[in-house]
Amino acid sequence: MSEVFTVPKSRRNAEALLLLVALTVAIGANWLVGLDKDNPFDSAFWLQGGTLAALALIFHLLLRFRAKYADPVILPIVIALNGIGLAMIYRLDLALPAEAQPVAPSQFLWTTVAMAASIATLLVIRDHRILRRFTYISLIVSAVLLMLPLTPLGVEINGARIWINVGVGTFQPGEVAKITLAIFFAGYLSTNRDLILLAGKKLGPLQLPRFRDLAPMVAAWLVSIGVLIFQRDLGSSILFFGLFMAMIYVATSRVSWVLIGLAMIAVGGYVALQLFSHVALRIDSWINAFEPEVFNRNPGGSGQVVQGLFGLANGGLVGTGLGQGRPDLVTYANSDMIITALGEELGLIGLFAIVLLYILLISRGFRAALGTRDGFGKLLACGLSFTIALQCFVVIGGVTRLIPLTGLTTPFMSAGGSSLLANWIIVALLLLISETARRPAVKGPVRETFTDGKQNRNTPATGSTREVSA
């Protein structure tokens, strides 16, 4: 864990400039898709643009006062991605038949809620190291969140039981569970890293871990298999297991963990292939996508992916232009397939820009992990950035037929409130960690910090000592 020396500089002005460009992209996209309407500058347009700009401004000012040294590019990138996503969802709404329920207003509402939640996270948490105290609580919270859809509250949509009914709409608790799981893994691994690292037999070049150290790995594997079996959600299952594998690799730098993990995925995947028809159908529609009978099969056909590919082909290098293509022909164009919808209208050039924005965002997350000094923060930043990376890979790889299509959301873009909320909270956490990473280190004796810490709360009555029995 090498420390990186940088000259401290707050760079908030750079962020303000970048935010201006990002807002131009977001609002410009929204304007372009409405060009064909009679009045592109209607009240909805102004409301949406104005709210996005106002929230971005509040966020920016908050960072100026509360997290002065936070990374300057994370917020503009996310605003731009979210804005492009909103515009595309709105554009797909315009292509809907008149009687259909529009998606864009609720997505816009969720964006507002998610940004507000992110701002609240920044205000409440202030220092990510506090989260370490909730290591085991987060494990319990994750378990509860993952169980919720199996209770009577749960709703089954399209064969997957991963939503719960919260009165006003549906919510996907698994999206929030990925944050709490990352907190648990970071807390657990930063404490137990040495045990996992040192104990165990050596077998050739591989150092094998002891079985009891393997237990959390097995637990994570069982959780992801459980999600796959009971909720029929392949995407989340891959996401949770990938998250744990990445974090244990980062914590121990042992290749043996990755090999064990890949072996477990292979076993799990093979068993799932034999037992579950929907997994087998996915694989078949991936390999034989262009067979007419596979294309037309319902459910489990490859029509969606192949039509997405046709869309990409129609877009070509420069795209048809926003609002000029026919991405609405693809089913779920505004959620699963939003990448192909964007690829059709913005072309390869535009899609590459979007992918680059994701890569920059993820690299900033890892940069924060490199810079921060505490092991917990490093692991948390790595885990959170890795979830975004893995989600992008699974979704973009799925719609371009590199890997079988699994239902995961494209971070910040897909229609879906829970994903938006979770990802904006991840942004707040990454900003906090990058703040600690970039803030100039205090030289000399440090007399700090947590004034509301445990010591004060548990001060024994004698008052002579501030310590408590652990």
Partner: protein, 158 residues
């Protein structure tokens, strides 16, 4: 709207996204140049002159070889330091099992980096104190500096 305007707007938007990408990259230029400014490890003499805040205090010449408990229930216990990290706490897995009611199961971690040993608190209840100051991040431990964990005080010796 004419075809020409639509086409111009189409390309204009692509240009705009790339302007965003490139301006993000140029904002990061300082950060991406790993070779010069952001070299990991010690800053060069020139960098140190320009930015005195980058200079860490010079590492101690003497290398610690032993860990000695100077106060607390285990007083007198000594441990030879090898190159592997040391876990301090009440848990049975700890390298030095502290029989101290005021220590947490996995209290702190002592690890070598370069020629120095660092101590890191592992989220203990009562905290770890390096010469009287509570640890908030990993800090180097010089030989002879007392580290207090609960009622136990340890010290590195040469």
């Amino acid at each position: 709207m004419s075809d020409l305007t639509v086409t111009l707007l189409r390309y204009g938007f692509l240009l705009l996204i790339w302007i965003l990408v490139l301006s993000v990259v140029s904002a990061l230029r300082r950060d991406l140049v790993v070779g010069r400014r952001n070299r990991t490890g010690a800053p060069t003499a020139r960098e140190a002159r320009k930015h005195p805040e980058l200079v860490e205090e010079p590492p101690a010449k003497a290398q610690a070889r032993r860990l000695v408990v100077t106060e607390g229930p285990l007083k007198g216990t000594a441990l030879d330091l090898a190159s592997s990290p040391i876990l301090l706490g009440r848990a049975q897995e700890a390298t030095l099992v502290l029989e101290d009611d005021y220590a947490s199961g996995r209290h702190a971690r002592l690890f070598p980096q370069g020629s120095r040993w660092f101590i890191e608190d592992l989220g203990s209840t009562n905290g770890t104190y390096l010469s009287g100051n509570q640890l908030t991040r990993a800090q180097p431990v010089e030989p002879g500096v007392p580290v207090r964990i609960g009622k136990t005080v340890i010290e590195l010796r040469q």
